[in-house]
């Protein structure tokens, strides 16, 4: 089993290796990696607006990252975050635009609840099907992504009344009635798309951390995810717990969709494919290696890379797509964490060996070993 320590090292190594690999690719295509990464950093952190943009983009990433994490802890592989997020996005914007005369705080609460419930139901369905019939949640969530994508698109184009639509395939802006933008924050960041969503995401992270670590529900989810047989033996209803975990996971993705609708974009529009944010949440959870702080840091890194990457073509001529490659490579290195794990173990044992060397008798033994190895080689030859 990987220790927490090793996991952190793997995550850090993956990021470093990913960046180095990205640099090699830049060199290969004739770009200067220093100016490439330099332009990335100067773009990402150069203006208050872009810093605001980073916070804005990391908001749904944190929530979908948490969503994946919770499902994973219960032993599920939730690939449906994209659909869960989009369903909630459409739902929350519809609610906010349909009831504009309610008091603002009621609009926000209503729209958020409506969106989260849509997400929760989208998580509940695959959870129930797996617990009840053993159906693969992977296949069902993938399929549901498409179902929700087209239902959502259809809702925007065909169901939304013209009164709440800006164009044929996009809704009006939610604006002040239901929007979660904060004036002082957008002023501070030169009118970036930052909203109260970032606080919602951070508070939710704290809340979910508490649920998972300090409540009986979190205990049950942990027990079921780690060993469903032992959990059942101990009287935990493993099926109900699995369903709860998937519902919670869907609700979190849903909340991510709500922040997109009421915060980041302020409206909803037809999507060509299921929103990437849902899938990127998976990458965030993987790089975060199962820890809550890890999810926040990974979300911050990915959104900084994305925001910074947008500036690369203008300044250094490096195409924006390089950022996608770097992110993919980071995840690749996390995925091959076994290799890094092996490296850590090798380094550790080499350290021990070298400290043994100084102690006299060990040194003699090692020499003997070398000789015998040589002999073996000779024998083999």
């Amino acid at each position: 089993m990987q220790s927490r320590n090793n996991k952190t090292i793997i995550a850090i190594c993956s990021v470093v290796f990913g960046l180095i690999a990205g640099a090699i690719i830049m060199l290969f295509f004739g770009y200067n990696p220093f100016s490439g990464y330099g332009s990335l950093i100067s773009t990402a952190f150069g203006t208050p607006q872009n810093i605001g943009e980073i916070f804005s983009q990391m908001t749904p990433l944190i929530l979908t990252g948490l969503s994946f994490l919770i499902a994973q802890q219960a032993g599920f592989f939730n690939i449906g975050m994209s659909g869960q997020l989009f369903g909630a996005w459409v739902g929350s914007v519809w609610f906010a635009l349909t009831f504009p005369h309610l008091p603002d705080f009621l609009i926000i609460i209503g729209a958020t609840t409506f969106g989260v419930v849509i997400g929760a139901i989208s998580g509940f369905i695959p959870g129930y099907l797996r617990a009840r019939f053993g159906a693969s949640e992977v296949i069902i969530t993938i399929m549901m992504n498409y179902v929700i994508l087209y239902l959502g698109n259809d809702a925007i184009t065909a169901v939304f009344p013209n009164s709440i639509k800006q164009t044929v395939d996009s809704s009006n802006q939610v604006g002040n009635h239901g929007g979660i933008g904060l004036k002082w924050l957008s002023d501070l960041t030169n009118q970036s798309s930052i909203s109260a969503g970032i606080f919602i995401a951070l508070i939710t992270t704290l809340l979910i951390w508490f649920v998972m670590k300090k409540t009986t529900l979190g205990f049950s989810i942990d027990a079921v995810g780690k060993n469903a047989d032992a959990a059942k033996y101990a009287g935990i209803n493993e099926k109900a717990t699995q369903i709860w975990a998937m519902t919670l996971s869907g609700a979190l993705s849903g909340l991510g969709g709500v922040t997109e609708g009421l915060g980041h974009y302020g409206n909803v529009f037809v999507q060509n494919s299921t929103p990437e944010t849902g899938f990127n949440g998976m990458a965030v959870a993987l790089l975060g290696s199962g820890s809550f702080i890890g999810v926040i840091l990974a979300a911050a890194l990915f959104s900084a890379l994305t925001v910074g990457g947008a500036g690369m073509p203008n300044i250094s001529g490096v195409p924006t797509e390089l950022v996608a490659i770097v992110i993919a490579l980071i995840i690749f290195f996390v995925g091959t964490g076994y290799l890094i794990d092996l490296m850590i173990e090798k380094i550790k044992s080499a350290d021990q060996a070298s400290s043994n060397k100084g102690k006299g008798p060990g040194a003699g033994k090692q020499q003997q070993k070398k000789i015998s190895k040589k002999e073996q080689k000779e024998l083999e030859a």
């Binding site: 089993m1 409540t215 009986t216 032992a230 959990a231 059942k232 033996y233």
Partner: protein
């Protein structure tokens, strides 16, 4: 048969030793099997039969010792080499692919090809020829999913014959079969032997040996003891040899003060996923203040009985009453709350969450109740205090209660499970193999704890494959065979021989009769 004896033995294994660390699974075993005979290997669980056969089939390498095949010394490096040497194994758990046909399964690994494609037609013809020759009724085109367990076993046999094996090892082949299928299998084995093939039959069922085997070698604690002519040896002698006369440490205990019935099982029927009846109209009562031992050979329904009583599996009919409360097919939590503790057979699968901290493991059944949780919020201090108390009280050795339970040694893991289960003050304690794989010290400790629970007036149901353990602890012994209780005896009125016979399915009366007869015979012999 006379001719056979003069031939060079098909297999001769001499002084086989196989060590795993310090533990010798095989400790100087000698075995000689002739072509044309059915040779039974008899021994208890863990006696070393499977290790020996794994050596013969190339899965394990012996630490020392020699193997001769048809008089020639051989080294069997891997299963492929064994197959080349004509050794085939019919596994207890079938190695078949459900979605493939019989033919495809048989050719898998020994495929016939025509150019680049499989030559299924030729293979099918050859298989059909084998089916006809040995009367192994099975359709080569049928899918494995669609055929019975008995037929699946025939596919396993065909697999070895297709690879031209002339030494066939059957690893507890009757465990999964119906009575009818067992008779058919014995006939098949006799056919094969008549062909001149050497058959090794691994079993611990004495009845089968008498029916099928020509000779029988008894193995105990990794040593081969003696080889008998199966026709001339009594079941009692074999049972004695198998179990051994080793004197064990006995746990001191007072006479049981029994009270009312705590657990009543009435006419219970449990079937497994394949619809095989595992518990067969079983009835049993356990009183307060007594330990009832369930004696039997592994796989005779003990696991299913325990899992049904504790709610992990459902029964098809019958009822289970715990202290007047019907707990039949209730959820594990309801059964736990009704007053059941369960020391499970497999502590790594059921007993512990090995990746969760030890402290959490100690409250895994009641973490949601006061004082461990209030309003759904875990009370870390109460949980830690509870764990510390139990660890001290039950002498569990570990570095920290925050360490995962998996970091404890096996004995301490089991002690932790026992501590948790016995501290919950239940009415019924189900202890399944509570000391399996433990060292003497831990065994003694757990035995004492179980006796203590009995003296506190708990009803204890002890399931063990170790007759010594049952004889040592139980006040009454219920012998289980093929999912039925063959008989219930008072521990002081029974003997190991009697239990050994009953475990093979012989009823109490006939067991006593047979024992009486053999005693008289012995007396006559002395005179």
């Amino acid at each position: 048969m006379e001719q056979i004896k003069e031939k060079i033995p098909a297999i001769k294994m001499e002084h086989i030793v196989k060590k795993f660390g310090n533990f010798a699974a095989n400790d100087d075993i000698n075995l000689e099997v002739k072509a044309g005979e059915i040779h039974a290997l008899l021994g208890e669980n863990g006696a070393g039969k499977s290790t020996l056969m794994n050596i013969l089939s190339g899965l394990l390498q012996p630490t020392s010792g020699e193997i001769f095949l048809r008089g020639k010394k051989v080294k069997i490096k891997n299963p492929a080499a064994a197959s080349k040497l004509g050794i085939g194994m019919v596994h207890q758990h079938f190695m078949l692919i459900d979605a493939f046909t019989v033919t495809e399964n048989i050719m898998l690994g020994a495929e016939k090809t025509k150019g680049a494609s499989l030559d299924i037609e030729t293979a099918k013809k050859e298989i059909q020829a084998l089916v006809d020759k040995y009367k192994l009724k099975v359709n080569p085109d049928a899918l494995i999913t669609d055929i019975s367990v008995g037929q699946q076993q025939r596919v396993e046999i065909l697999k070895t014959l297709y690879r031209k094996a002339d030494i066939l090892i059957f690893d507890e082949p009757t465990a999964v079969l119906t009575t009818q299928e067992i008779q058919e299998l014995i006939a098949t084995m006799k056919n094969l032997a008549a062909e001149g093939k050497a058959i090794i039959l691994i079993t611990h069922k004495l009845e089968e040996i008498r029916q099928a085997a020509d000779r029988v070698t008894v193995i105990r604690s990794g040593k081969s003891l003696e080889t008998f002519n199966a026709k001339n040896v009594s079941a009692i002698t074999l049972a004695e040899k198998m179990v051994g006369r080793k004197v064990s440490f006995t746990t001191e205990k007072k006479a049981a003060k029994t009270g009312k019935d705590i657990l009543k099982i009435n006419d219970l029927v449990v079937k497994d996923a394949e619809n095989v009846t595992k518990v067969d109209h079983l009835s049993l009562d356990i009183r307060a203040g007594e330990i009832i031992g369930i004696a039997g050979i592994d796989g005779n329904g003990q696991t299913e009985l325990v899992q049904t009583v504790t709610g992990l599996t459902h029964s098809q009919s019958g009822e289970i009453i715990l202290d007047g409360k019907n707990i039949t097919n209730k959820t594990p939590r309801k059964i736990i709350k009704a007053g059941t503790s369960h020391i499970p057979e497999d502590r790594l699968r059921h007993g512990l969450e090995i990746n969760m901290p030890l402290a959490d493991n100690m409250v895994i059944e009641n973490f949601y109740e006061k004082p461990y949780a209030r309003m759904g919020i875990l009370q870390g201090k109460a949980i830690a205090d509870h764990a510390k108390k139990l660890i001290k009280q039950f002498d569990v050795k570990m570095t920290s209660i925050d360490e995962p339970a998996g970091s404890l040694s096996g004995g301490n893991q089991q002690k932790a499970v026992v501590a948790r289960e016995l501290s919950r003050d239940s009415k019924l304690i189900v202890a399944a193999q509570p000391t399996r794989g433990l060292d003497v010290g831990a065994i003694e400790y757990i035995h004492k704890q179980l006796i203590k629970q009995r003296d506190l007036g708990k009803a204890v149901m002890l399931i063990s494959f170790e007759l010594d353990e049952i004889l040592d602890l139980a006040d009454r012994i219920a012998v289980i065979s093929s999912g039925k209780i063959i008989g219930v005896v008072n521990t002081k009125d029974t003997t190991k021989e009697e239990l050994g016979l009953m475990m093979t399915g012989v009823g109490l009366k006939s067991a006593r009769k047979e024992l009486e007869a053999s005693k008289n015979k012995n007396k006559a012999g002395v005179k």
